[in-house]
Amino acid sequence: MMTIFGIPAQALFGQLLLGLINGAFYAMLSLGLALIFGLLNIINFSHGALYMMGAFVAWLLLTVLGAGYWTALVVAPLLVAVFGMIIERTMLCRLYKLDHLYGLLLTFGLALVIEGVFRQLYGISGMPYAVPKELAGGWNLGFMYLPIYRAWVVMASMVLCLGSWLLIEKTKLGAYLRAATENATLVQAFGINVPVMITLTYGFGVALAAIAGVLAAPIYSVNPLMGSNLIIVVFAVVVIGGMGSILGAIVTGFLLGLVEGLTKVFYPEAASTVIFVVMAIVLLIKPAGLFGKRS
């Protein structure tokens, strides 16, 4: 068997591929965070809870209405996005003129409420959600057995991330969005309804989180706490990448998934801390983050 640094190549490639899958989730979540931050200047602490909601709505659609995975993949994010937009219109919008930290605190409180309500209603041991039939099974790649569903997750998230990036960087809508981040009053003067744009952006960011949740449902069991631990790691990802660019958020997400995968091969005990260590190093060398602007 071929080995690299004393590790079977098989294990190495396998872990890298798995890292990429984790990275897909990091990327989708940090992209949503970066988008929301860009326009609202709010770090959306409830992002993890909304990701969890996405998964739960998918599960509810299945158990209550009998709606399958593909329906859920479209409907759940829409529902969660509407929920998010209601929150933005009723609560977040009151905070724009205040210190940005209030946004963080509010969304933290919301995260506690959402998480608590789902715990109260559905307990904690997790709800099963089956892999859709079309994506069941796996491919034997020689060095590892790749479940088709995981491959789909990586593909789907890459397409989504790339699509969002193109939307923001290459379309007129995206141009308005970028302009509004720089100077909202100016954009308003061009006859664009900035508050509506803000709401839609929040909705879009939230929808991304919810899609990630639906994608995650068949992999992990659907459980009220699935988002809260993930979100802190994603925060570290965001600090590492910096919020300067959309592309930065995506690239850093995938990259750190890979780093984590590698750590699992060489020193599994550190797998849960490695991202934070990377964050410390980045703060030392490049405080603004890998893709960040100095502010």
Binding site: A11, I124, S125, P128, Y145, Y220, S272
Partner: protein, 404 residues
Amino acid sequence: MITKRLLLGAAALALSAGAAQAQYSDNKVKIGVLTDLSGTYSDLAGSGSVEAAKMAVEDFGGKLNGIAIEVVSADHQNKADIASSVARKWYENEGVDAIFDLVTTAAAVAVREVSREKGKIDINSGAASTVLTNAQCSPTGFHWTYDTYALAVGTGNAVVKQGGDSWFFLTADYAFGHDLQAQTERVVKASGGKVLGAVKHPFPNADFSSFLLQAQSSGAKIIGLANAGSDTINAIKQAKEFGITQGGQKLAGMLVFLSDVHSLGLETAQGMQMTTGYYWDMDDSSRAFAKKFGERMKGKMPTMVQAGVYSSVMHYLKAAAAAKTDDGVKVADEMRKLPINDFFAKNGKLRADGRMVHDMFLVEVKKPSESKGPWDYYKVLRTIPGDEAYKPLAESACPALMKK
């Protein structure tokens, strides 16, 4: 009017007479169920345990030598500090006489410390660690339903005997996981098997794929899951996803509850072997209890922890009635004297180190086709006699025993 007053007076007399004869503090017996009502273990213990305790009190008759029995409950959220402060508050301020369930070792040990100090009784049904009958044993503390030793003996032995003689462990990286792994390793080696490796995973952990990959490449026949709750569920689900079980390797869940199997579904869990202290569909008495429990719990069947809570509360009440007091030390002595014979434990006995020794069962999860209805999940493969399942008293490291 007069008769009523007379009656009241007589009742009061009877009460005070009873109290003079038998010594019950505050003229009532108060039972506390301290458990995880909202966290990872709320399904296997939680409100089901509280309900089981209430059922036991009702079945006992609601009164003890004419004295009222009261049940209180609280959520320790799996946090040792909350558990310890609730226990302290209960003992010091609210006249609680005994605490039950106590799922999670951390919370269990915290309450054990307080109970020992106060001379009060704690009977553990939910926690796993053998530490409760060893370093942390207490004259008024008991461990009722199962422990890591019994799980390791039951599952470890059986699996090796069926040819599963090479193991790889996925271990939750904290004391409970390490403990469970060490106990199982010992059993596996003693039965002639070998351990090829182990990987410690963070707790709690959502993604087991990379650990499973390592287990897969180790080539071991058996992947031992030394973890619990959602960690076990996730590991099992993902093992199926990665084709590990189809590839010929088998999973051995070291601590799997009925509620976990329910949440996994038979499709995923089928064929898995495990050790349990109780299964609802064993005989008429266990079914009778389960039926009543199900009626009160939206059709859920009791886990071994919940059944253990019922059994331990019932035994405590019997002992408190016989001892005519709620003094912890005296009731504990009485509890050791009385035999335990109910739907949960046949010929159970309480040892000096606090261990309740009773038969355990090796079960296998049915195939979906074998299951005849909801909650019909297990086939009982073997009854493990209590003396085989539990660590011999002679090997106990209980400090109280060492002194003697």
